[in-house]
Subunit: 282 residues, 2 copies
């Protein structure tokens, strides 16, 4: 999906909500557990209930890999279901935080983007920047595919290294600055945690146009209002992730309905924020 | 596997060779390609041919994930084969370079270490440090399991961030220093690329006792002699990885035999280095 298509679907849905499909079998409704693939069935119901409200879906790979082959089957079925049932209607993010030496990252890129090889085809993959340019470049050789580079994460450990200052520039800022040479705002986004929303103003000075993927709103304590205030651009420029607050809104038979309610609350708030903050016709 | 067991097997085999099982189907012998699982059959033959020469095996996950579910099947069969056929005879490393917020890394830890959940059980996993302490700590809650933290990598992109200097300390040194609080030399190692072998002396000042996993010898240009000179400790303290030079020594019917020959050359050189450099009775 290219940038214009992404902006168009955000305009159409009046939403920049990304729903994190971090599906934990211990938290899903009991009545699903007897089915052959409870995780896929849960995801399918969440997707069907929220497709008109969500700009993006983001399965975190850890929640699938912990079940090994079976988990990869659930993951494959989930992305295949989205691509077949709702083609070009939603942006899809492989939250895998990959990164390795060049010829190895090339294999990871096939895993995320090349359906003929891996059975998976996402629009974007999250990548870790520690190993530098050649560790992320192979992902950018796929047209209309994106990398989402970890810049400032939402967890406590972000303080261990991301704020280290070299020549008056913090490491997460170095990542933002140097990575500008790797790609453009047409194929590169950044992860910026909502728990550090006050940093968004500084970040927007370095990357005024790039989309930012913002985790940490809700369960992790970040505020959507704060994120929008500092992060929205004329093209929206944000994908705000919520996972637990939406997908586990109920663990009864009404889980999909309740997930839709929670997603709807966020979409409504986002719709108002887009009108309030935007200068373009979103 | 605990540290003493690892040191014992290095002593017994007179080898600190780690063989990277980065199995690329386009490079394996033609006669294997008609088998049901060519990647597993290739790995099995390499393992059987080198088990007495190798201290460790290290499949890089990218080379399996690029085939999706089928790749995870090959990976699962490979680690299961090692664990069942050669129990406690070799150290196993999941080269996955994972790392995410705490509750997510917990799921990755299950993927790598909890056979009942994922079907996989490795001795160690490589982790990326960018997200800090809480992103790697969950891996350390498994007794006798290890993390191998990326410190100084062997690729060109290592220069993008790993050498940034904050208060006279380079980022890779900050990683070595701060991570000392996360674990100990009993459950934590570091990745240090052989292409930067001259840095090993500096690194040994910060981590005198920790094992170092050293990629980049051979195909990437690093020298085993240089690595040993600066990196060996009285407990060996090194696992030196070689992948392409060994596993693709031949692409004919004699591939396993030729792999054994190449592994044997390295083991012989290592055996001599251990005698020359060591003060203990290795």
């Amino acid at each position: 999906m290219n940038r214009q298509d992404l902006i168009s679907l955000i305009r159409r849905k009046k939403s920049f909500l990304c729903i994190g499909l971090d599906t934990d079998i211990s938290k899903i409704p009991v009545h699903l557990k007897d089915l052959e693939d409870p995780i896929f069935e849960f995801n399918k119901a969440i997707i069907d209930a929220t497709i008109d409200l969500a700009a993006a879906y983001k399965p975190n790979f850890a929640f699938y890999e912990c079940y090994g082959i079976k988990g990869w089957q659930s993951l494959t079925k989930t992305i295949t279901y989205i691509n077949n049932t709702y083609p070009a209607q939603v942006f899809t993010i492989a939250d895998a935080k990959r990164g390795d030496i060049g010829n190895t990252s090339q294999q990871y890129a096939r895993a995320m983007f090349d359906k003929a090889s891996s059975g998976l085809e996402f629009d974007a993959v999250t990548v870790a920047p520690y190993m530098g340019e050649d560790s992320v470049k192979p992902f950018l050789s796929y047209p209309e595919k994106w990398i989402i580079v970890l810049a400032l994460t939402s967890n406590k450990g972000a303080e261990d290294f991301q704020f280290l200052t070299s020549q008056d520039t913090r490491l997460f800022e170095q990542v933002l600055i140097r990575s500008q040479k790797w790609g453009s705002s047409e194929n590169m986004m950044y992860v910026v945690g909502a728990t550090k929303a006050e940093m968004l103003a500084d970040i927007r000075e370095i990357v005024p146009d790039h989309f930012l993927l913002v985790p940490g709103v809700g369960a992790q304590g970040g505020s959507l209002q704060e994120v929008a205030k500092h992060g929205l651009t004329k093209d929206c420029g944000l994908l705000v992730n919520s996972s637990r607050n939406i997908i586990y809104a109920s663990n009864g038979a009404d889980f999909a309905e309740k997930a839709r309610e929670e997603a709807g609350k966020m979409q409504k708030e986002m719709s108002e924020l887009l009108i309030r903050h935007q200068t373009s016709d979103i």
